[in-house]
Amino acid sequence: MSDKKYMSPREKDYFDRVHTWGILWTIGAVLMFASIPVLVCIKLGVLPQTDALKIVLPKLMGLYWTTAVVEVIAYVPMLGAGGTYLSFVTGNISNLKLPVGLNAMNTAKVKANTEEGEVISTIAIGVSAIVTTVIIAAGVIVFSIFVKPDVLQSPAIKPAFDFVLPALFGALAASYFEKYWKLVIVAVLAGCLVLQFIDASMGAGTLMFITIVIALIAGFVMHKLKWLK
């Protein structure tokens, strides 16, 4: 098998082990996740309204399950094995886990899909998951007891959260700009043109497919022309 040619047995062992752990944890997560509505129904002593579910579920599944296929294909190669199993359980991937993983690999100067990238990305995403969970839990308790939740909506603070995405992705883009500025310009321009002429409301998860393909083609061409140094 060609796999063995590029992966040491030890390295192969580690990735295989991560997948085994990941699958077991994911099974646990599915069971836990599915038990939430069951417990709620038992607690309330009611059954969900089947008439409503017959109408609502096909709509939601058509939307979310299609998106899930796109997200899984787009994110898995970038997050690494451990990072993937953690990210898809804790959610908030595009706005948090993915940039955190990319930042950590970039700062540690390791590449995705190498074992070094795998461990760094997993540690970063694991830390991020813990910090997020703790902040939300502490926030819910503190704000609902001591402070009015409206404080996060106050004019003084709200703009910071309204513009968290440009702040986050601007900083991330700049880290690639120095070395790959030609590639960044091509990919961003392609994304803007798609939004302008095809669909301005296209979600990042879909747009990402187009910009990744454009960036890969442009990167390949620029590499051949020796435009990237």
């Binding site: 898995v76 898809f88 948090l96 830390v127 690639y176 960044v184 960036a215």
Partner: protein, 289 residues
């Protein structure tokens, strides 16, 4: 039954179980990765920097998620949004799932859900909608990761200097980041809501279905681009300072610092610049599409 059923002891116990699961799973993977990193010869300093930098990087988006928990709390109580945004969820999915279900009864997400059966139905709908990736991952993760990993390693092994593998890896990253950057430059967000008449009642079509309208709820504009540029300038500046003065300890914090500084600039822009500028967006907020 009153609205208390959404935030009673059992609901908090379910939330606690979810939190414990997420934390234990994360700690498990961190410990395993840490041990492997040491075997690979990655320095303790690099690992500690990864932890600190990632924690700092997470703070602002986590507060942003917290704000969305409160946004949904008015209708669903505080605990269900808290649980849903701690596992799998994100704002767009949860809001859409809840509103789509409430549409069945013609209720808006801005009003509190007081019927236990409606609440239970919403919980089921949110769960079934969001569970898809968890069912897929065990079957495809290994395959996707191996295919891409081998392609990258194969091309890296053949070259010296800036290999095609390096370029492919960087291109994929840049492709992802560019999608988000492009949306901040020229994108908009659209939400589907119920059409209402002058009295605020839902409009029904001939078949008795609630008529839906799509409205623009967010748009790129002057401020999003200014914040984007500020973040890029801050990041470049901090990286330059780190290199120039050999501040290697500051390097891992460059990204979170740049992000916080750009968020501070957003507050400044929105409070100092005239409304004619801050309100300048490329697509009219509230307009139907």
């Amino acid at each position: 039954m009153t609205g208390d059923f959404k935030s009673d002891g059992i609901m908090f116990a379910i939330a606690a179980a979810v939190i414990v699961f997420v934390i234990v799973q994360s700690v498990f993977f961190i410990v395993k990765s840490w041990k492997r990193a040491k075997e690979l010869g990655i320095s303790e300093t690099t690992l500690k920097n990864t932890v600190t930098s990632s924690a700092l990087f997470t703070v602002a988006p986590a507060f942003s998620i917290l704000a969305t928990v409160f946004a949904l709390a008015n209708s669903l109580g505080i605990v269900l949004p808290w649980i849903r945004l701690s596992v799998i969820g994100n704002l767009a999915y949860e809001t859409t799932a809840a509103q789509t279900t409430l549409d069945f009864w013609g209720i808006s997400l801005s009003k509190a859900v007081t019927d236990p059966q409606q609440f239970a139905t919403i919980t089921v709908a949110m769960t079934v909608g969001a569970i898809a990736p968890l069912l897929m991952i065990p079957f495809v993760c290994k395959f996707l990761q191996k295919k891409v990993g081998n392609a990258v390693q194969k091309s890296s092994a053949k070259s010296t200097g800036l290999s095609l593998g390096d370029v492919i890896s960087a291109s994929a990253f840049i492709g992802i980041v560019s999608a988000f950057v492009a949306r901040e430059i020229n994108g908009m967000t659209v939400a589907s809501t119920n059409a209402v008449d002058e009295l605020g009642n839902n409009v029904l079509d001939a078949a008795g279905e609630i008529v839906k309208v799509k409205n623009i709820t967010g748009s790129a504009g002057v401020v999003s681009i200014l914040v984007l540029i500020c973040a890029m300038i801050f990041m470049t500046l901090i990286s330059f300072i780190c290199k120039k003065f050999k501040l290697t300890k500051l390097e891992p914090f460059a990204m979170p610092i740049a992000m916080f500084a750009a968020m501070a600039m957003a507050i400044l822009f929105m409070n100092v610049l005239p409304e004619a500028i801050t309100g300048m967006t490329w697509y009219e907020i509230g307009a139907e599409v």
